[in-house]
Subunit: 414 residues, 2 copies
Amino acid sequence: MTMEEMGIRAKKASHKLASFSSAVKDRCLLAAADQLITSTQEILEANALDLKSAQEKQMPASLVDRLRLTGQRIEQMALGMRQVAALHDPVGETVYSTVRPNGLQIRQVRVPLGVIGIIYESRPNVTADAFALCFKSGNAVILRGGSDAIHSNLAIAKALNRAVAEVCGDIAALQILEDTSRELAGQMMRMNRYLDVLIPRGGAGLIRSVVENSTVPVIETGTGNCHVFVDASADIDMAVNIIINAKTQRTGVCNACESLLIHRSIADRALPAIARALGEKGCQLRGDQDSRNIDASIVPATEDDWGREYLDLIASVKIVDSLDQAIDHINTYSTGHSETIVTNDYNSARRFLDEIDSAAVYVNASTRFTDGFEFGFGAEIGISTQKLHARGPMGLRELTTTKYVICGNGQVRP
Amino acid sequence: MTMEEMGIRAKKASHKLASFSSAVKDRCLLAAADQLITSTQEILEANALDLKSAQEKQMPASLVDRLRLTGQRIEQMALGMRQVAALHDPVGETVYSTVRPNGLQIRQVRVPLGVIGIIYESRPNVTADAFALCFKSGNAVILRGGSDAIHSNLAIAKALNRAVAEVCGDIAALQILEDTSRELAGQMMRMNRYLDVLIPRGGAGLIRSVVENSTVPVIETGTGNCHVFVDASADIDMAVNIIINAKTQRTGVCNACESLLIHRSIADRALPAIARALGEKGCQLRGDQDSRNIDASIVPATEDDWGREYLDLIASVKIVDSLDQAIDHINTYSTGHSETIVTNDYNSARRFLDEIDSAAVYVNASTRFTDGFEFGFGAEIGISTQKLHARGPMGLRELTTTKYVICGNGQVRP
């Protein structure tokens, strides 16, 4: 099948999906969860092929681990699918309504986006997760996973599609590219006629490539150079606790802290405590000269460090003279994901929340909470760091758009 | 100044603008309205230069008219600015809030987008209108108008910037490109680091070029191949009235009707009345064979006609066998702008509203109402025909994004 044919099928499916009731969608998701379990053996065999070629390619162990499926991981996927079935369906909600002086009744209602394209890297569970969220919100989806996981992805999609066929009949709600070439991914990025949005999920390189090459509207997800600012009035124990959590609880995630700013008036007391606690966790600090005057074991930072997303046990540290300098620094170097201030000062808290230009701004809490589950959405398809359409964790609501529904009794424009 | 320097200045301005109170923004807009009036002579002299070169280039009269400013048109611009000042400021509204079991207080609040780029064609009043809406919603704006109106645009921007300097001091809230070359427009389309969104306003060619070439997120505005479907149960007088209004009240606008679908069971009675009324307005009909069997004066339509946005006294017409066929036809050929059904049947109305995939769907009213003023938004920056971020008329709310503001007392993630 050509990309164009897949687009036509997806668009047609999206028109049907838009009118499915929540009950039908939920029944299909529960059937899909069952199909995953029933197909465990088939999926594991497919996964074994991917693992074999990963070993032949001498893929690093951490990546092989992301690729690996087990009976337990398949159960997790099925559980995720059941959890999405249990979530509230946002389709049909009225967002805004008005009755105009001429009697026109105008309602803005939530509807599915239509056809969503997702381009992702090695984790095969994305195949199931992305389908669940897109389907629950009434969207057709075209998936393009990485070549490393292609056998696993196809086996998972096959299982899911058995459930779709069983509950919904012949409808192209889920299609997956069997050809993982760059050429086809490039074609997908220019399918404006059929794709309503393209969501890249993966590393910074993948995301940059999609943003650069796509003519389809893109939602950028995921890079996080997150900051913790320890203000002059901070409770030092709380600051240490938040920094340890934000930096070390999980290092490879986008909401982990990468950079520390410390107010000069508290630095003499706060930095040694912070450096000691991070040191115990094996975390390297790279700092400016002022921080190194306080703790000589801090490695000198270069200009490059301020913008780095390490995703590792490394953090940059800088001493600042004021709240203004902290805000300027963050607004200059941040990727606009999540930033936190530790403070006991009302005005510092208020100004930080108002003036920091990021998706999530915190007072006295860890940046690690920027996550669809932690925000109470029940699931997430990614964390948007752009400002258009969705910003921050994206749940089902962010996979919808609206349309205006207008009821008249013969009104014409004067 | 380079494009990069303009971007840096705009980004810096956007951080200041985000914290301006509505009172300050409104004071500035009222001062800008006054400045437009005070600068009438200067603006008209600049406009005379544009009109002179338009005549030298033998620009068509209709385009010259769009370019021409008069004392009255400048008063209109000033009035528009005062009306925007009087609108409700959406910045700071809480869109969603929750308190999590761990005590984290999460609020999603409306904030400005940041820096908005607008690329537009010959109407110089866009310079004032776009500034007013972007400024009121707390955004910095970089404008790139067409070369035809460059003197007028620069004079208007100069007047507006006098008001900005007077009320807000040294802040690059409004910048305009003096160089209208394609090269610079191309650079603007790739300013991802500084521009949060790019809005093209103009003809289909301009919009296509921006969508194709921009790496900055784009909001597509404005092409409308709008349909009126006359259902089997329609009131024929109402149908004629709505069609005449939608097709002929103003032809050059995106919410004008371009295509008529008529249910076979009513076509014998409805089509002659519709054709007669349109004929009296000088409107040509291009139809399928079935429609020509009813009225031989209808010109044969080609496949190309179903997708055309004529923006002229021409409409296509097709006889359909069913509501399903009408919905399929519209979802195939429409640009997703506005469509209306004329019907007395509850189920037809409900299905049309549910299944048509357009920004605005109507029952028994003219498509001409798809407009920010008619929807009660008080103003509009354009009508989005894409699904991401904004769909339909875009007012102040659509020029904002949100951020999550989270207040804790030491929470870390377990």
